[in-house]
Every structure is written in C-alpha cells, then in structure tokens.
Amino acid sequence: MAFGTTSRRGKEIPRGTGWFASFVLIALILVTGSSQAQEVRCGCEFNESGTESDLLTGEALNGEIWAFGTEGVAGKSLDGGLTWEFDNFGSLDWSSSDSGYGSIAIASSNGTVAILENIGEGGDDIGQDIPSIPNGVGINAIALTSASSIVTVGDNGEIWQYLQGSWVNRSIGVEEDLFSISFLDSENGLISGEGGIILATTDGGISWDYRDSPAETSESRIVGIDYFSTVRAYAITDEGHILKSSREGTVPVGFVWNIVEIEREYPPGGGDEFEPGGNTLDFEVTSVELLSQFKMILTGPNGYLALSKDGGNIVSQQMVPVSNVTVFNAVVMQDAFRGVVIGDSGLVIRTENAGEEEFVGFEVTDFNDFGQFVDYSKERLMDGLVATVKIVLFGIAMGFTIGVILSMLKTSPTSLKNVAQMNRFQILSMVVIPFWVVSQLIIGTIMRLKNPIDRPMSVLREKSAHIAASRPVNVFAIRLVGLALLVLGYLQITGTFEEVRSLNLDGWEHIYVPVGAPRAFASILLGIGLLILGVIFASCNGDFSIKEFDVGSTGKKLSLNPWGLRPLNALATVYTDFFRNTPLIVQFMFIHFGLELGRRVQEPGLDLFDFEYLKDNANFLTNIIVTYETDLSSPAYGHPIGGVLEDRAYISAIFALGLNSGAYQCETIRGAIAAIPSGQMEAGRSIGLNYMQTMKLVIMPQAVRICIPPLGNEMVNLVLNSSLAMVIGYAEITRQGKLIIATTFQIFWTWGMVMISYFVITWTLALILRYLEDKTRIPGLGISGGA
C-alpha cells in the first residue's frame, strides 16, 4: 500500500478560498443552527480540507499534520493545516492514533493497526506490516511506546501490546471497557475507562495497576486521559468532569486524582465574567488535548470546543453558540498555539492562538502607551465616578433636608415664653403632630383621602384655645415644671463628676472629657441645660418681659431676657457650630471608624429589611435601601449586592457628607430667609396664614430661589469634598486614582483624568443649577431676577 508518493489527487487550493469557505460554513451554521444562533464567534479559521469523509483522529509530528477518518481516508498538511492532500489508506475507519519516535500509529476499532514511519523526512511509507490482534479484539485507543512498540486498549478490559512482531495480552482481568491510553515516555503510561477506571504502568505497559479515581466519578466513563508531564495529567469524563492529577511530593502523577472545580462563564454561552459553580461542564466531551501544564482544549460531539488556560477552572467556549451540526472529533496541535481541530464531514479548523476567540494571553500591558493606559484605567474611573455620584446625590439630598430644617429652626421665633405658655392640649398636640404628618403623607397625599387625625387635631386646637381663653397662664404649674427640671438636672449631673475625676486628667486636659467620658459629659451638659431652664421656670412670676438691672453706680444697665431664649435656635446653633468648626476629613474618620455609624446603620437595617422577607417583596423603593442576590446559583445568594445598606463605608460617607453639608447649607438658606423682606411674613400673616404656612408658601419659595447660587457653591463643594471619602476606604474617584497609580505609575495622566472626572460632575451640576436658576427666576425677586 503506497501512500504519499503516489497521491497528488488533492486539489491545490488558493489561499483566499479559506475565507470564502469559512464564510460559507458560518452561513451554513447560521442557517441550519438553532434559532437562537444569531451569530457564530470562533477564534479558529475554517479550512477547506478537500474531503467529505468524517475525520476521526489526527496527529501532528515534525511539522506535518495528519488526519485520518472513515473508509481509510487519510490526509496530510505541510503548512499547518492550511492546505491538505488526501488519499485513501485502506478502507477501514481509522478511529485512533498516536505519534512519536518519528512514527504515527493508527488503528481501527476492529483491531487493525498500521504504523507510518519517517514522518517529516519525505518518502512517507508504511513501515511495518502489523497483523491484527488475535481473536478479533477491538481497539479503542492506541499508544506508541517506542518506534515499534504499541499498546492498545479496547472493550471489556482488553490491553494488548505489540512488541517485536507479535501481540501480547496485557489484560489484568478488568471487565470494564477501556477508552483512552496515554504515555508520558516509553515507561510511564495511563489508561482510563468506564466505571471510573484508571490504570497506570511504570514499565512500558507490561504490567498495569489500579489507581483511585475520585468518588464522584466512580460510575463515570472516563473517555479521555492525557499524561502530559511528570507533574501533571488530566482526564475527562463524557459527563464533563475534568480530573487532574499532580505529583505530590514523592508520589508521582497518577495516584491522586481530583475533580476540578469549574468556574462558569457569565452570562452563560459566551460571557466575559466567570463565577464558581459545580464540577461538570454542561456539555458532552470526548477528547482533551493538553497544550501546556495548564492549558487544554476540550472537544465534544455536539460542536463543543472549549479552551482552558488554568487547568480547567475556567473553561471558555471558543465557538459560540454551540451548534450540534458541527462534530469535533480530535484536536491536533503542533505546539501550544498552532494546530487544527478536525471533525465530521471533512471539517478542519485551524488556529494559531490555541483557538482563542480573542487574543488575551499573558501580554504585559504597556502603560506608557496612553491608549493602553486609558483602556486599563477607564473602568476603574467609571466605577469611581458612579460611586462618587452615588454618595453625592444622597449627600445633597440629606444635606439639603438638614439645611432646610436647621434654617427653619434657626429662624423660628419660638421662645421660652411660648414654651412656658403652652397648655396641656398644646403639649398633647405636639405629640400628635408627627403622626399627623405621617398620615397626611400617606392618606392625604398618596391616597387623597381625608386624614382621620385631622379631627383630633382640630379638637385639640379648640380645647387649647378654650383653655387659654378661660384661664390665665398657670404660674404655679410653670414653677412646678421648673422645680421638676431642677431636680432632673441635679440628678443628671450628680455622680457624673466622679466619673470625670476617675479619668485622672490634669488642668487643660479636661477639654478631652467629651471623648474620655462621653456619657458623663452629655449628662453634665444636659444637666446644666435643665438647671438653667429650671431656674428660669421656677422663678416665673407671670411676667415674661425683659428685666433690667442697674450695674453698680456706673449708670449702665444690664438687661436680662431669659424668656426670649430660643431653644430651637440654640439646638441648631450647637449643631452648626460643631460641624463647621471641625475638619471634614476628621469627621469622616470619626464617623466611620470612631462611631462606626456605617455598621450601626447597616446591621439593624439589614435586620429590618431582611432577605427572607424581601426575597418575594422587593420593589424599587426597597431596592434603593438594599438589593439582595436572588439567583440561587450565585455564591452571593442572599447577600446584599446593592442599595444603601450594602456597604458600610458608603453609609458612613453619605452621613459624613450630608451632616457636614447640612450645617453649611443651613447658614446659606438662613441667609436667604433673612434676605426676604420682613413685610412678606407680615403680609402672609395678615391674610391669616399661620407661621408654618407662611414659611412654606411665601418665605421658602422665595428664599430657595435666592439661595440657588450659593447653594450651588455648596453642592459643588460637596462633590469636591466627597474625595475625602477615600480615607474611609470608599472607592470613589480619588481612591480609584490612587489604585490606578499603584498599578501603572502614571501619575500625571491619572490625576489629570481624575480631575477631568470631577470637572464633568461638578460642571454638569453647575449647569443644572444654572438652568434651575434661570427656570425659577421671577421678575422682581432679588437683584439677579431683574424685572
């Protein structure tokens, strides 16, 4: 049987045809594939092989690639699979092969074996005339252990060795079918079969011993095994398990097998991300080809072609979608990158980058190239941008709310006199008001029904008016309250000095008492406040006017106006003084690390919005607070993946920014309120609006318009201040910038890009505010209004 020398029947194929053929093939797959097959992505190049026969096995040796198939078809390519010449080599179906020692051994399933010698040296020929295995023993796989020595495996545990011209039965009484054989060198080999069988030899195939395969695959058909090196061997089952064996200490490869945990690509079928899950591929596989210690190509009958670069952990499909039209039978690699995959109907596809769809590899990115640098850093910057915008939006909302409330408190005319003159119905209505506000929001605004608390409120109002009319201010009751306050104040203070003393502070060190004994300090402060109130209340004689005293004989007068104290104003002042007189960066750290505000909000928050409840009841409002992973297959199942409560640093950052900005916005809004002529309040009151109504309907709408420019400043400041959130580990833009520099060392570019990112945010904000200012401008209001 002459081959090679005689056959030049294979057509010479011009190069461009390859592209045309691949186009046709893709088109074919598109037409005949499943309806979801919108596109086929593959890193390989489809080649015209010149045969229509199914190609079952192939070998690459000494620069030549050989493929063998049904009815004796055999072909070779001298140019890496681009062009092929085919001939018939007998009429048997060549289903298995092995190469090495300058030879290729091929076998058919009925037990016929042939050896091609002198591969790559020209003048190819059949080397040896090899008889069939006696008794019609079949062959599932074949391995060359030397130039003239062959080991075959077949069904029912048959192991035969061809040695020095004759077949020797090496079966060891195994009854299971054996599917695959692989030799590392002439001595060490592995066999795999059904029922999880793995056999090993260390003497060139003369004697075989059992090896333990993992319990999970004890019933599986191990259809492929590859003894790659002295430290690594891989095997696969047709269910898609990948087994790995490594040398462990002095124990050689083959003794210990582990199932590889597979990370799945996400989204399934061609995604770019990977997540752990399970230990089988979802596809039937029939062969594994190792390209390096960790790199392997897997093929299956249903068009499955996949690559793993990390020993099977991440297996990414290289032909997407998987089409059951294409049947891959074998991978024939010349080296770790170049080779072909062959299959039914003469399918040959060629790769020069190990079949990868995209060239990823272990390329070292050149960060001196601005394009590559941007490519690397843009995602981080975008993440940072989103993170910044998130805290800024919540911070602005919180700051503005606090600012409005504080400015209302600061400008509130409620004085101690008003407080003292309150009767019991007014006090009661203070208790009811919060409920009224809430129910007004829900029932009145959303459901548009009459608020049921309206009635009790008006009753209280009537009663309080009645009692105020029928009785003068009850001085006795005020004094009683004063005495009670004195007692309360005393109780607050008593005992706390002992605690302060136990801190062992000297002299000026006492300014640190608020930190050393916060509870005691708060008690003392509260106690002093209560005592002052108590003294004022207890000394009430029904006259709330200003008291004037002569100071000695100087003729000067000291005027006291205790009843003019404004408690709400005092509260707001304490707040703003605190936040405006400490640095923001310290507030960030104090709030996050000191108070652990983030943790304190997050933990009870997650208890309140717990997963078991939200699993079925989540809506867009609860999603703002917390979003849980509900995908059962995700390892993050049941954990928060979004919303305010997801991240402690996020919560702390919002609070720090909001609380701080609130103090400044308060002053801004207060200034705007002060800028509204007092006549506006008088006019509002004169038509019968009460104080809050006038504030809401007359003063605030004008004040807010006036304070848009300074408030805009404040908000831009808030954006810029958000960069300080990096000190608590929140991954906003500045922190991302630092991280980018840590990797790339490109300081100028990074900080420049960070600045641009900030500019984009603040400038957008400024534009919005400018638009808002323009939009809300009222003729005649303020200087900027211009009639």
Partner: protein, 245 residues
C-alpha cells in the same frame, strides 16, 4: 350709628429698647365707617394699625373685633387676621406668585376653598380693582399703583370685616396715586369699614367719615373730617400747615 366693629381701648406699646410709641390710644370704628389716622412721622400711627391685627403685640390695652377681645392668647390670631384686611405701604405682594395666585393664596390655605371657587372669588375682586387683565403677571412686572390695587384685592378677597390701610399711597409716584385712592374711595362708598393711615390730607377730608390726629403716641384731636379745615390744637395746625407747604 350702627354697631362698633372695631374698638381700641387705652392701647400702649413700648418697643424693646424702651421707645414708648403708643401711650394710650382709644377709638372706635363703626360698621361702614371709614376712619383716617393722620399725624407726623413717628407719631405712632402705623404702630396702632399693626397692633390692631397684632403684627405688633400691644403692651397694654384691649382690642376688640365685634365686641370680642382679640389681643389675648385665647383668640385664634390667624382667624382674627383673616377677618381683618391689611394693605401695606410697600404692597408686599408675594413676589414669586402671579397676581391670581397672590389673591387666591389666602382663600385656598386659610379659607380652604377649592381652586375653582377661589379663582372665581379672585376674579370678582380683581375686577373690582380693575386688574382683571393682569392676572398672569408677576408683581415685578406691575407698576406701583397696579401692585397696590392687587394688594387691595388680596385683602378684599378674604371678605374682611374691616380693612386697614397703612399709608397705601406713600410709596407711589404722584401720577399713580390717583387710581389707588379711587379704588379706596369706591370701597368706602360701598360701605366697607376701614381704617386708613394716610398723609393724603385731601383724601382724608373727602373720603373719611372721621379723622384722628395723632401726636407723640396720643390722640391729639378727633372728629369728623371737617376738623381738617378747622383744627383746634396748635400741633395739628402746625402739622397741616407743614403738609400744605
């Protein structure tokens, strides 16, 4: 004369800092009567007016509206104020609201009217002051006289029992005064009870049923509008002559 609508009894007001602006003023205003308060600057006219609807809290004295004392904590001050219309020297229209919303604000939030009802009432009073064609204008786009007429409409809309005018023409250019005075005169002729603090002596003489001359926080002279032509006290003579110069 019919019932007293508004009565003030020995009202006193001491400002913080000790300025004794009003030192015991008493007067009554009857149904349909218009009272003009005149006097030089600092004589306490405006203070008296503001004490009536308690924009300033009087230190002493009693203010009664239809016989009911209104300067006690018991009185519902917002209700009282909604029954007393007030027109300010500097108009004090709500700058951020259009004319129509200026007028309907009190109707909707104090009288709790629906939008359509309030608009209907507002149209009536705006027609009354001849401002119906400017309902969509902002106060900033109106002339002083127009502003003041809208302010009058705003007070009128509440259907007040008595109207207080606090120097309604002092901030106006001379040529704009006429229309405002004309409007007030119309109101007086229709029988609106009103108290007008004014420097327009001629207007006081023509429109007011009675005139009150205040000097240094006290009522120096009181009587029908004819006393303007025949002042009894030397202070009032001096005042009138200084105005006529």
């Amino acid at each position: 004369m019919s019932d007293s609508i508004l009565s003030v009894e020995s009202m006193e007001k001491t400002y913080v800092g000790g300025v004794h602006a009003v030192r015991g003023v008493s007067f009554e205003v009857h149904e349909g009567e218009s009272l003009a308060i005149i006097g030089s600057s600092g004589s306490g006219k405006s203070t008296v007016l503001r004490c009536i609807n308690r924009l300033i809290e009087p230190t002493k004295g009693i203010v009664r509206l239809k016989g009911e004392q209104i300067n006690t904590p018991a009185a519902n001050i917002n209700d009282v104020r909604s029954r007393i219309g007030m027109v300010f020297q500097s108009f004090e229209l709500f700058a951020h609201l259009r004319v129509m919303d200026n007028v309907t604000l009190g109707l909707r939030h104090v009288r709790r009217m629906g939008k359509e009802e309030a608009t209907e009432v507002a149209r009536q009073v705006l027609e009354r002051v001849d401002m119906l064609d400017r309902v969509d204008a902002y106060p900033g786009n109106l002339s002083g006289g127009q502003k003041q007429r809208v302010a009058i409409a705003r007070a009128l809309a509440m259907k007040p029992e008595v109207m207080l005018f606090d120097e309604p023409t002092s901030a106006l250019d001379p040529e704009l005064i006429g229309s405002v005075l004309e409007t007030i005169r119309g109101l007086a002729e229709e029988g609106m009870t009103m108290v007008v603090v004014t420097h327009e002596i001629g207007f006081a003489r023509d429109v007011a049923d009675r005139v009150l001359y205040m000097d240094e926080g006290l009522v120096a002279e009181e009587g029908p509008s004819s006393i303007i032509d025949n002042p009894k006290t030397s202070r009032m003579k001096e005042f009138l002559s200084s105005i006529n110069e």
